[in-house]
């Protein structure tokens, strides 16, 4: 090989060899299993942990009403449709009365008959009273005459007996009157009952609300308990939130909340925990709470999904590490502490956790300790590490 400038061949050969050896050595120690693990470290500092709970839920109405008949029947008419606002007491739908009108007429007639029976009984009492008065005066007269011996004792006795009979007839007539009155009251009650039943198949709005469903159309048959219409109070919409039981410590009524509706993910709306349900879901392992809007946003719909963040009172002046620095060793949680250039796994006790990833350390570390945050690989006690500012996240 011809070279344009003159250097001994040995030098060239040695140079190539040296370059190869240096490259080999450098690659062997900086990549592959022999290389030190790149890590980033941070110092434990005091600060504030803004704790919060987060869950998802659906918008639903605190008060919703199923409007339906109390007995099986056919729907005759439905007067409102979905979306209509209705007032309390407004007629919404009517069931087919079938024979109810006839039964009301029959009850009315029976009541009228009862009333005339009372009138008859009253007349009978009057009649009995007048008979009794006549019998009494006649009896008195004959008793006087009998004392003066103008008439025989048997005639006097007859008159006395007639008086007693008239008394009894009066009592009977009065009793008939009472019974007729009672009968009238019964028939009147029957009539009112029939009319109420007639009224009961008229389905009226119990409150001011909005119709949310029209489940039956005229002509369809519904059974007792089935709904013809559904109503809800638009002002009573709230969010039923489900929170993971494991991350629900501190949940209580009155916590301020941020509600983000799925239909408007950019805007968080203020609210408050209105109620925490006393029973949580054992299957999904979630707790259930209701969060009410401070002001109801317009256009919010029932069953819409919502993200809810509940803000708990923060913990200030706490020792903080990022949650990425927490490692699990078996069941033990701890951090990799870097002291005197050596790594040591230190078990810690954690406290409050913020949604931003800050974790309060209750026990195990002190301010100023240097802990490993990110590492390229799982660390071991004898791992060699190299501290860098940030780890390459390209691949």
């Amino acid at each position: 090989m011809k070279l344009s400038f003159s250097l001994p061949r040995q030098v060239w050969f040695a140079a190539v060899g040296a370059v190869l050896l240096i490259a080999f050595g450098w690659l062997a120690t900086t990549s592959g299993p022999l290389a030190p693990i790149k890590v980033t470290v941070t110092r434990v500092a005091k600060g504030e942990v803004a704790t919060a709970l987060s869950g998802i839920g659906t918008v639903d109405a605190r008060r919703a009403y199923l409007i339906g008949p109390t007995a099986a029947g056919r729907v005759r008419s439905v007067l409102v449709d979905v979306g209509d606002s209705v007032k309390a007491g407004q007629l919404l739908a009517e069931m087919d009365p079938v024979d109810l009108d006839k039964r009301v007429a029959s009850a009315v007639a029976a009541a009228l008959r009862g009333r005339s029976a009372v009138t008859t009984a009253e007349a009978q009492v009057q009649d009995a009273k007048s008979r009794q008065a006549l019998a009494a005066s006649e009896a008195r007269r004959y008793v006087d005459l009998g004392k003066k011996n103008f008439v025989s004792q048997s005639v006097v006795d007859t008159k006395l007996q007639q008086q007693q009979s008239a008394d009894a007839q009066l009592a009977a007539a009065e009793s008939t009157l009472v019974s007729a009155r009672q009968d009238l009251a019964r028939l009147e009650a029957d009539r009112a009952g029939a009319q109420q039943q007639r009224g009961n198949i008229r389905l009226r709005a119990p409150v001011d609300g909005v119709v949310t469903a029209r489940d039956a159309e005229p002509g369809s048959t519904v059974i007792a308990g089935q709904s013809v219409l559904k109503l809800q109070e638009p002002g009573s919409l709230w969010v039923t939130v489900r929170l993971d039981q494991g991350r629900s410590a501190g949940l209580r009524a009155g916590l301020p909340a941020e509600i983000t509706l799925r239909s408007n993910p950019g805007k968080a709306r203020a609210g408050k925990v209105a109620r925490v349900e006393p029973i949580s879901d054992s299957v999904t392992e979630e707790r259930i709470a209701q969060v009410a809007f401070d002001t109801l946003p317009p256009g919010v719909t029932s069953n819409e999904m919502a993200d809810v963040t509940l803000h708990l009172p923060g913990v200030s002046d706490a020792l903080i590490v990022p949650n990425a620095s927490l490692h699990y060793r078996g069941a033990e949680v701890g951090v990799w502490l870097r002291a005197d250039g050596k790594l040591r796994f230190v078990p810690v006790k954690t406290g409050a956790t913020g949604l931003d990833g800050k974790v309060q350390i209750v026990e195990g570390l002190k301010a100023g300790d240097e802990v490993v945050v990110y590492s390229e690989r799982e660390l071991k006690d004898d791992s060699r590490i190299k501290v860098v500012d940030a780890l390459g996240t390209a691949k």
Partner: protein, 397 residues
């Protein structure tokens, strides 16, 4: 005493180095192929390491959750926690699917895990761990997602809050970790059209939509759109307890299958990646043979190119040993250069591969021994040829 080999090499050092370089690149390819194979096995191993479990509890008579699909109710773990020797038990789901980000999508294994339990990524390289119960994700850097990205898994959008490394499925797909409940839903919940169709199908079934039973249809539809299944329960055995014994108890009393680490490794390496690994292994074997042959031929032709010089050496009375030594030393020198270049080349281009390439030092050592052996064998061929040379060719031509 002067080194004959050294003098000869220096005489045409450029040719020698270039031959060594070429040989090195070939050896580099062989090393890379070995690295691809090791990477494949390592992918399967890290999958097991990362889950941090001692036992995998899966559906009876399946090889789940990685090699076969497995589905068990999500309350099974409570019963397992009650067994003696169990320290931790956690539900986990695995689903390989396309994860969308904007218009692109990435093939990933979506893992549903519970925080603080086996199955959680052990370490991060950026961002933070998941703190919310829903719609947050930690992704492997291989997915090329970055912290703050919004990714779409089925019907929900997730925010990437952290990145991790070397968390891959046995197929080498990056993992995306999401909260368990979201994963259960993602695994099961279909698109809206399918849900609406399925509701209509249920409503059309007269046995399920009975006029006399209000609310029955709603209850059935609700039960159809919820999922209380997971793919496996990861169990961490209490210290000092035998995983095999706990696995036996689970198999016997819980009507589930339980695999220990060794069994799981066997399933993954012997069953799941067996064919692919054999494919690579076959290729590696052929490549090794071909490389050896090429090394042998190069050394042989190099020797044949020096017939005249060797004849002169013989003529001036050089002993056979001296000549053999020269050829052997040159062959070994070529081997050393080839090995170093090959190792450097493999290390440099290894990370550029889409799947993990693991270059083990012991593989390199083994490779070095093989290269040297091949060189020695090849030089014997050349030495035989050199010793047969008639010294007369030096003058006769």
């Amino acid at each position: 005493m002067i080194s004959l080999a050294g003098r000869d090499i220096l005489h045409s050092w450029g040719k020698f180095v270039l031959t060594g370089l070429g040989l090195g690149l070939l050896i580099g390819v062989t090393f890379t192929m070995a690295g691809v194979y090791r990477g494949m096995v390592d992918d399967a191993r890290v999958l097991l390491n990362n889950s941090g479990a001692d036992l995998w509890v899966v559906q009876k008579d399946t090889l789940g959750p990685y090699a076969e699909s497995s589905s068990i109710p999500d309350d099974v773990y409570r019963g397992i926690l009650g067994l003696p020797g169990v320290a931790q038990a956690a539900n986990v789901t695995y689903l390989t699917m396309q994860v969308r980000k904007g218009k692109t999508d990435v093939r990933a294994m979506v893992v549903g895990f519970e925080p603080g339990q086996p199955g959680e990524p052990g370490y991060l390289v950026a961002g933070r761990r998941i703190t919310r119960g829903h719609y947050e994700a930690v992704a492997d850097v291989m997915s090329h997602f970055s912290v703050g990205d919004r990714i779409r898994i089925r019907r929900h959008e997730y925010t990437v809050v952290g990145l991790t490394r070397r968390m891959v499925s046995s197929g080498g797909d990056p993992m995306v970790f999401i909260p368990l409940k979201d994963a259960q839903e993602a695994q099961f919940l279909k698109d809206n059209d399918a849900i609406v169709n399925s509701r209509a199908r249920t409503a059309a079934n007269p046995a399920l939509n009975r006029p006399g039973v209000p609310g029955l249809l709603e209850a059935i539809v609700a039960s159809q759109t919820s999922n209380h299944n997971v793919n496996a329960v990861l169990v961490r055995v209490a210290e000092g307890r035998s995983a095999e014994r706990v696995a036996r108890d689970i198999r016997r009393w819980k009507h589930l299958q339980a695999y220990t680490r060794a069994q799981m490794e066997d399933i993954l390496i012997a069953k799941l990646i067996a064919t692919a690994a054999k494919q690579i292994g076959m290729f590696l074997a052929i490549l090794t043979v071909v490389s050896a042959a090429i090394v042998a031929f190069i050394i042989y032709t190099m020797t044949l190119g020096k017939i005249r010089e060797i004849a002169v050496l013989k003529l001036i009375g050089a002993r056979d040993r001296t000549i053999a030594g020269m050829i052997l030393q040159q062959a070994l020198g070529l081997g050393v250069i080839g090995f170093v270049v090959g190792k450097i080349a493999a290390t440099v281009w290894g990370p550029a591969f889409p799947k993990y390439v693991l270059l083990l030092p012991e593989d390199a050592a083994r490779g070095f021994v093989i290269v040297m052996l091949v060189c020695v064998l090849a030089s014997t061929l050349a030495i035989r040829a050199a010793l047969k040379i008639d010294p007369a060719t030096a003058i006769g031509g």
